[in-house]
């Protein structure tokens, strides 16, 4: 039997985290671990290392929470950027490159996508539908930047397209997402 997951409104969660309350820590984990882990895992593509980074991410969120300014944007945006930065740093570190050689990247990607389509929370039921709406060139740029930790400059080089096109495609990809989520 899984324990009950705690959910708070974003406002209450922010209060609880500022007061360093236990319920804040638990709600933070219950509400965001899967989403953050999804992002981290796609960048790192290594289960155990991803969990290490997720833990590091939560510690950093917890300790640097006074720096979060809710007037500047959503809590998740702030947290996911911490997670992405830690994950990208990890991917670019020397010891990671040694570890990662042992893993077949393509297999991991397939594994992740299989899992995501079967075992995830109800919010993900529309993923296939969403992916169908995104044009392939939109999705590849979005995923490179968001899930692989490329900068848009790196993505332009990788895909061999102009920087302006990268920005335009990113924007149109996100506009598609907005029609889906907002």
């Amino acid at each position: 039997m899984k324990t009950r997951k705690i959910t708070l409104t974003e406002h209450d969660l922010v209060d609880a985290l500022r007061q360093k309350k236990k319920i804040g820590a638990e709600a933070l984990y219950d509400m965001y671990s899967a989403s953050l882990f999804g992002v981290i895992n796609r960048i790192i593509q290594h289960e155990e290392l991803s969990e290490d980074i997720l833990q590091e991410t939560f510690v950093k969120i917890w300790n640097s929470f006074p720096l979060f300014d809710s007037s500047k944007g959503r809590l998740f945006t702030w947290m996911v950027n911490i997670a992405r930065n830690l994950a990208i740093d990890k991917v670019r570190s020397k010891d990671f490159k040694n570890t990662a050689k042992n893993q077949d990247i393509e297999n991991t990607v397939n594994l992740i996508d299989e899992r995501q389509n079967t075992a995830l929370n109800p919010e993900t039921l529309g993923v296939k539908e969403l992916v169908g709406k995104l044009k392939p060139e939109q999705k590849s740029i979005l995923d490179l930047v968001y899930f692989r930790g490329y900068t848009h400059v790196e993505a332009a080089e990788e895909l061999d397209i102009p920087l302006g096109t990268v920005k335009t495609r990113l924007r149109s990809a996100i506009i598609t997402l907005r029609s889906f989520f907002n």
């Binding site: 895992n41 997720l54 939560f58 007037s71 998740f76």
Partner: protein
């Protein structure tokens, strides 16, 4: 506001949300968002969309990780959490309703206790009043009994007196005084004799005879032509004021009383003659 539109459409806001901007450009975006509501709302919409995208790709980490993560956070063990503003509507519902209930039950309980106390006092007062009433009833019954005894006694005396009176007033009766013999010089008594109806009665009101013991009684005799005839026995000790009817006799010349063994004798013991009187 053409500039703002161009700014929004440049794609810089998307890069900001994706965390793909250098520090100085991030500050610029934040300044723009603070200044222009359109930028701010555009930014919010992008954030929500990207968060949705991330959520749709969520993967649950292994179960054990939660414990590890929570152990790494130095949270306040105190579970009480008071959200500052937003939680008001959520908290008001569970807070106020039980509060009312609590008050209701508290007052009910207090009222019950008070009622119980009042009941006890009332019960005690009523009980002592009941005891008083019972005592009074007992006293009244006793005095009523005494009174009715007294009435019965007086009634009996009245009857006896009126009987005596009717006899004394009746001219057919002869009152014969019996005087004490040398055996009892101070003794005396009166016998009422009605020859027409052969009635003989002793007037106890006038009876003055020495006390007898348990084994002896007085016996009344009539002397008829020189022979004693038994008229019955009687006791000296009596609380009666009335008349005692003796055996009937038509005629007699004298009456005499002797002391005889209890129950009487067939013939008088002459040496024990106590009183005598002739007609």
């Amino acid at each position: 506001m053409e500039d703002i539109k161009t700014y929004i459409e440049s794609g810089i806001l998307e890069l900001y949300v994706l965390g793909d901007l250098p520090e100085n450009e991030m500050r610029e975006v934040e300044a723009m968002a603070a200044q222009y509501p359109d930028v701010k709302s555009e930014l919010s919409a992008i954030e929500a969309a990207v968060e949705g995208y991330a959520r749709s790709h969520a993967i649950d980490p292994s179960e054990k990780l939660k414990i590890k993560v929570l152990q790494a956070l130095d949270f306040d063990e105190d579970d009480s959490f008071e959200p500052v503003v937003n939680a008001k509507p959520i908290r008001e519902v569970p807070k106020i309703v039980p509060l009312k209930d609590n008050n209701f039950y508290r007052y009910s309980f207090a009222a019950s206790l008070l009622l119980l106390l009042i009941s006890w006092i009332a019960l005690f007062v009523l009980y002592s009043r009941l005891q008083n009433s019972k005592e009074q009833i007992a006293n009244l019954l006793t005095s009523n009994q005494q009174f009715s005894n007294r009435v019965n006694y007086l009634d009996k005396q009245l009857k006896e007196s009126s009987t005596s009176l009717s006899i004394l007033k009746n001219p057919d009766f002869k009152m014969i005084r019996l005087q004490g013999t040398k055996n009892a010089p101070s003794a005396s008594m009166i016998v009422a004799f009605n020859p027409r109806k052969s009635e003989v009665l002793i007037d106890f009101a006038a009876l003055k005879m020495p006390a007898t013991d348990q084994t002896h009684q007085y016996q009344l005799w009539a002397l008829v032509d020189g022979k004693p005839v038994d008229l019955g026995v009687f006791d000296s000790a009596t609380d009666s004021l009335g008349m005692k009817r003796m055996k009937a006799i038509e005629r007699a010349q004298a009456f005499a009383v002797t002391l005889e063994p209890r129950g009487g004798s067939a013939s008088p013991t002459m040496e024990q003659m106590i009183a005598m009187g002739a007609i």
